[in-house]
């Protein structure tokens, strides 16, 4: 049906967390084929484990699903799974090798073996009941128990079981009970895996041999010396050699070198004492695969050998030709038990990490969503959150801030209070509350005001348990520094981010650099681009990001990948999809084929299959009823297609379990049968049957009537189904970009480079925005080069039309066809375009107080920056400079953090110290927002001798002008005394205020948030979309951000806009609303009811129009319409009423 074969471009996305899903969806929506690979057995990454997110305290992951071309993707909870016709998902797969150039990469993917065949597994759970081995549940962060054979995530669809091979005893119990024969544990095959153990100590040899053979079932032989080992190697082949380094005579290194000559295919694992670890690392350079540090036990050896076995013997590799690669490997989290400061983690039961706490709050977590103490399962009444565990800790090689934990902790504190019905008290112990995300400042204030969360600015020194297992926290009082002890039921550690497992290996393989902390390095100003063209880093793989930034970076990386494919000759293929249904089929009398899946004999246990078939057969529209053993398996599916084709029926009803699972296949099924998609229906026959079973109905067939009811309902819906042509509307393939700053220019270039025209409107005389006065970033990058290059490209680009000194007056129309009025010096023009990107930016906020205006020596950051650039200030002559933070923002009138001013202050303070090391530089601050890698500059500033003095919001510093000069007074909470600093210069961090006039927003029809910035459709999940479809925003107009972050949003906005521009027309969804004009009284109630603004009144034709690109098929209009004139295809009134009748039959 879709012309997917025509698509030229193909991309590989590594990692299927939210970042990977976002990047894959973006690329798929622009028409590329995407292969999405994931190491774990489920998609969703960390987010699969988080039920609710800041700032809505709900999950909104499904908001990532496309709103146009809805039928390409199955519209259900994204945490359960992702089905897009252009996306192929491989779980348990990793990237082994990559060769080639942009547009023509060849990737080798390794797929791990699955002991449970996903094609055969029906998820019935019999194996889980049979399995005798209990392990700690990995999905619940090792809290609670599950079996060695278990579901990898509780909600995924399809959800096939996986086996923890390290814990599995291979008893075979699951294999015996599996009704579909999906489980295959090849015990015998393991014997063919031969291992050679080489060690001079007999005890080591014999115990290793015993572990490897008796416990793990491999074959093992031993050798007492290097010479003996080489003889054995020459005689027969071994898959693995475990080789000791220190042996008398020939040592391990020598044996390794010779063994590589004799038997190059044998994988060598070195065994080493702690003292010779460096030698082992050397050994890896000359061909050893891995090393083990002695002493080790079976628990640490066997998983390693197991994974070697799986990788060497069972995994399969496949080759993929792709045009570009997006790496979205995500992050891992710090384990406090490995650090010097454990805060009682692992030794005290009631100390958990933030991720564990999240699982405790989850309804599918270890305590089913009840907030209980892990030690005695009593309700938690007092919970403490300790921030910066494994972040901002130079001693732990963590000279960075993990950026997301402050929001994470505040959210968890609010949820804890909420879930306990307000009975729990929460306290957050923090160093700086980094509320730098736009909504977080207010969110935090709400936590304090409405939820009573206590915020204590203090670093907890230690956590100890008393005799009741309560956690006693010791911390210096933020007031006077005296030591306090306080008791809590539970302590939650905000664990910091670390590079994802395997990130280093991937970087080495791709020959890409990583930074000191191990995160991927990216190019200056472009936080998604690597040194190698065609390879992009998206999501949180570069580390230290929250969801909002993760998604922005994922989209920006997708944009880069899209451009790489496009530039190499791959194109965005047009998607022509409006297929007219066959008129014959429309007129044909409905004849329904009912296929009932019995799932082995599972259905037979609850419903009388024969009686069921008998009753259904006499329904007037039913052609044939047939039972199938298993439709979900490949064989079952093929049989179904054959039988239905032969029967001559033109509609098909499936009665199965898990209808979601089949939804992704219906499209393929419909085209295999040669019928319209509307003629195939799936109903869930097992859920209602199972319900009765649970209620304890003891009759022989407790579920018969329910199953019959659901099937009759399905027949009712099918017989009224109307195959129809999908409505579509053409797209004007041009974009309007408002604002000529770096974000606007970048977005314009990204779109124009894909071959679409762009109008770039700038209100001032020249392009460049804030980059015209910012000269240098804190990292030391010159902005002039960036500006020059971008300007040059914009001006030369044949597809970009620049309108300077121009204003946009307003826009009419809707996504795909918008008309805007633009006024410039020559008068008013009209521009037609399909999408609009708003990038009007922000400027320094006005300042009041803090002595501003008293003296020319009191200036704002911008004034100071400009003065320095013009050389009107001599930085080296200044003796004392005082910076005052939060002078314009985080106050009543601008209640958000401007995020860039702390970095600017650090930059300027470092500059002053560099020019004059003996200068005294003071920074008066509330919280230093040195998030992410910025933390290292904060450290550097401290090292250079900058003095930081915190002040409280209600006790701001004052600036006075006296005869002797300027004096700044502030209170130092540590010294507990007032300080009075005579200053040569006072520099105020004014912050940023948006440049989005209300008239412009109103004219465009986009919403403004409470601070005056452009409002995102959803802060977290739709960060660059405006609430009005077809409008996107990027740069500082969305909220304060620095240059590289602005550039990333520009890429993201362009990528989303390209999803619209890449098609010639937007095709509406199969389930969308329409109006019967003959019944319509033009009361316009439906227009008000529509939450998507999809309806409008055509006054000339006296008709209500439905915009197919906007309608999401929610049905609000149908309920609002008093005449039944508004109808929703697929949910017609007759269909619904008959379904209800059938259910009560």
């Amino acid at each position: 049906m879709s012309l997917t074969e025509q698509k030229i471009g193909k991309a590989l996305v590594v990692g299927a967390g939210v970042g990977g899903i976002r990047a894959a969806l973006d690329l798929a929506q622009s028409g590329y084929k995407v292969t999405l690979i994931e190491k774990e057995a489920y998609t969703g990454g960390i987010l699969a484990k988080l039920d609710r997110q800041f700032p809505t305290d709900r999950c909104g992951m499904c908001k990532m699903l496309p709103t146009i071309e809805r039928d390409a993707v199955s519209q259900h909870c994204l945490r359960r799974g992702l089905f897009h016709e252009n996306i192929e998902i491989l779980t348990g797969a990793s990237l082994l090798a990559l060769e080639g150039t942009p547009g023509h990469f060849s990737a080798r993917i390794q797929e791990n073996p699955r002991w449970v065949n996903a094609d055969l597994c029906t998820g019935c759970g019999l194996c889980e009941q049979a399995c005798p081995v209990e392990i700690k549940n990995p999905f619940n962060q090792h809290m609670g128990l599950c079996k060695a054979i278990h579901l990898p995530s509780p909600h995924a669809i399809p959800n096939s079981f996986v086996i923890d091979t390290a814990a599995c005893t291979r008893c075979g119990a699951c294999e015996k009970v599996c009704p579909t024969g999906a489980i295959r544990i090849s015990w015998q095959d393991r014997e063919r895996f031969r291992i050679l153990v080489v060690d001079d100590e007999l005890i080591v040899r014999s115990s290793l041999e015993a572990w490897l053979t008796k416990e793990a079932g491999f074959s093992a032989e031993t050798a007492g010396s290097g010479e003996e080992a080489l003889e054995l190697l020459a005689k027969s082949s071994y898959q693995v050699m475990l080789l000791d380094i220190k042996m008398p005579g020939m040592d391990g290194m020598e044996v390794l070198a010779k063994a590589k000559e004799i038997s190059p295919d044998t994988a060598v694992v070195m065994m080493t004492a702690y003292a010779t670890v460096e030698t082992a690392v050397e050994a890896m350079k000359i061909g050893a695969l891995d090393y083990l540090v002695k002493p080790f036990d079976a628990e640490s050896l066997l998983p390693k050998i197991n994974s070697l076995y799986e990788a060497l013997q069972l995994s399969t590799a496949r080759k993929l030709d792709v045009g570009a690669v997006v790496l979205c490997g995500g992050v891992s989290y710090y384990d406090p038990s490995t650090g010097k400061d454990t805060f009682g983690f692992r030794s005290l039961k009631n100390v958990v990490t933030s991720l564990e706490f999240e699982r405790i709050l989850s309804s599918c977590g270890p305590f089913e969503g009840k907030l209980l103490r892990p030690d005695n399962l009593k309700p938690v009444r007092r919970v403490a959150f300790i921030q910066c565990v494994g972040s901002r800790d130079i001693g732990m090689n963590a000279d960075f801030c993990s950026s997301a934990c402050c929001a994470f902790a505040v959210k968890e504190a609010r949820l804890a209070v909420e879930q306990s019905g307000g009975e729990a008290e929460a306290a957050v112990f923090y160093m700086d509350m980094r509320t730098y995300q736009k909504p977080l400042e207010v969110y935090c204030q709400q936590a304090q005001g409405q939820y009573g969360v206590r915020f204590v600015k203090s670093r907890v020194h230690s956590v100890i348990a008393d005799k009741n297992n309560d956690c006693i926290l010791r911390y210096p009082s933020p007031e006077d520094g005296s030591m306090q002890e306080e008791s809590f039921d539970m302590v939650v550690l905000a664990v910091g981010q670390r590079p994802a497992k395997g990130a280093r290996k991937l970087a080495d393989m791709l020959e890409l650099p990583v930074n000191k902390a191990g995160f991927f390095e990216t190019l200056p100003f472009f936080c998604c681009q690597t040194e190698k063209p065609g390879i992009f880093v998206g999501g949180s793989f570069t580390g230290l990001k929250d969801i909002n930034e993760t998604l922005i970076c994922a989209s920006a990386a997708a944009q880069g990948a899209s451009l790489a494919i496009h530039g190499a000759g791959g194109g965005l293929a047009p998607v022509a999809r409006a297929v007219e249904p066959d008129p014959e089929a429309l007129r044909a009398h409905p004849s329904v084929f009912v296929a009932v899946c019995t799932c082995g004999n599972r259905l037979g246990k609850v419903a009388d299959e024969k009686a069921l078939a008998q009753k259904l057969k006499y329904q007037p529209w039913v052609k044939e009823v047939r039972n199938f053993a298993r439709i979900c398996t490949r064989d079952g599916y093929n049989e179904l297609v054959d039988v239905v084709k032969k029967s001559g029926a033109n509609r098909l009803l499936l009665g199965t379990c898990l209808p979601h699972l089949h939804e992704s296949r219906i499209l393929a099924l419909a085209s295999a049968l040669g019928v319209d998609r509307a003629c195939v229906e799936v109903t869930d026959t097992f859920a209602p049957a199972g319900r009765d079973e649970q209620q304890g109905d003891k009759s022989p067939f407790p579920g018969s009537s329910e199953v019959l009811g659901t099937l009759l309902g399905g027949i009712a819906r099918l017989k009224r189904a109307r195959p129809h042509a999908l409505p579509s509307m053409p797209v004007i393939r041009r974009a309007l970009v408002i604002g000529g700053g770096i974000a606007g220019m970048t977005a314009a270039l990204a779109i124009a480079d894909h071959g679409f025209g762009v109008d770039l409107v700038e209100q001032t005389q020249k392009l460049g925005g804030n980059l015209c006065w910012i000269k240098r970033t804190i990292e030391g990058y010159e902005t002039a080069l960036l500006l020059e290059e971008t300007l040059g490209r914009v001006e030369k680009h044949p597809l970009i039309t620049v309108h300077t000194q121009a204003r946009v007056l307003g826009a009419t129309g809707s996504i795909g066809s918008l008309t805007s009025r633009v006024a410039d010096n020559s008068g008013e023009h009209t521009i037609c375009h399909g999408v609009c990107i708003v990038a009007t930016g922000a400027n320094e906020a006005p300042v009041e107080g803090f002595g501003y205006g008293l003296d020319s020596a009191v200036m704002t950051q911008k004034e100071w920056e400009i003065a320095l650039a013009q050389n009107s200030q001599d930085a080296s002559s200044l003796e004392t400079v005082v910076f005052i933070q939060c002078a314009g923002c985080r106050r009543k009138d601008r209640n958000y953090c401007a995020r860039v001013c702390c970095a600017t202050t650090l930059k300027q303070a470092l500059y002053l110290k560099e020019k004059n090391p003996s200068a005294d530089v003071f920074v008066l601050y509330r919280d230093i927002m040195a998030y992410g890698q910025m933390e290292s500059f904060y450290t550097q500033a401290r090292r250079m001798g900058v003095i930081f003095i915190p002040y409280k919001k209600d006790c701001p510093p004052s600036v006075e002008k006296k005869d002797e000069g300027l004096f700044v007074s502030a209170f130092d909470p540590i010294l507990q005394r007032d300080l009075c600093i005579s200053a040569d210069r006072v520099i105020l961090a004014a912050g940023l205020a948006p440049e989005l006039p209300a008239e412009l927003a109103e004219g465009l029809g986009i919403q403004i948030d409470e601070h005056g910035f452009s409002k995102e459709a959803q802060f977290k999940w739709q960060p660059v979309e405006s609430s009005t479809s077809g409008f996107f925003a990027c740069g500082t107009v969305l909220g304060p951000r620095n240059i590289s972050e602005s550039i990333a949003t520009a890429g993201a906005a362009a990528e989303r806009a390209l999803a619209v521009l890449s098609r010639e027309s937007i095709v509406g969804g199969r389930i969308s609303a329409s109006v019967r004009p003959s019944l319509c009284s033009l009361c316009e109630r439906c227009i008000e009811a529509c939450p998507y603004g999809a309806r409008a009144l055509d006054e000339e034709k006296e008709k209500i129009l439905v915009n197919p690109a906007l309608c999401q098929g929610c049905g609000s209009c149908v309920t609002a319409c008093p005449n039944g004139a508004s109808v929703l295809e697929g949910y017609l009134r007759e269909q619904m009423l008959e379904t209800i009748d059938a259910a009560f039959a």
């Binding site: 910066c388 130079i394 001693g395 020194h461 911390y475 210096p476 450290t939 010294l975 600093i981 005579s982």
Partner: protein, 187 residues
Amino acid sequence: MIPKERPFIEPDKFHDLEGVQKMLASCIQCGTCSGSCPNAFAMDVTPRTLWRMVLTGQKEAIFQTRTFILCSSCYSCTLRCPRGLPLTEAMSALKQIASREGLAPYKASTRFYKSFLDSVRRHGKVREGEMMTLYFLSMKNPLLPLQFAPLGLRLMLKGKVGAPFPTRGKRPLESLFNKVMQLENNP
């Protein structure tokens, strides 16, 4: 009032303070050191406050506190510091300044240290009786021995204070001490 107390350090007799400031520069005043310190209960200001005083250059205030002189060099703070700062070394550096300059508030402590080392220098190990005699003599306070009498008696009863045995050989650690002095004078 800072204005006349700064610039932080005048290059006079407290010039070593600059070195201590460098050691502590990246301190974030988190207070982990105060929490770790087993002697904090006896200190008049906590270690955190002391570091703040050092960083803000309040030399007069620093050398009126008892904090650094009460440091028993257990290294707990150094171990726990999230910034990895050499806090115990900083304490020692302050002690050295106090001792070298003979600052009045630390007279008793510095003389006690000196007596201890004098005894060690002479015999290669400490002789409690001799050390205390040297200490009392240096303090020039006739009433002082009386204050220590009960403690001395208890220690003697437990056999903790041995009788002075003649030392074998002369000044066994002399060359070591000389070397250290030489190094200190020509760093």
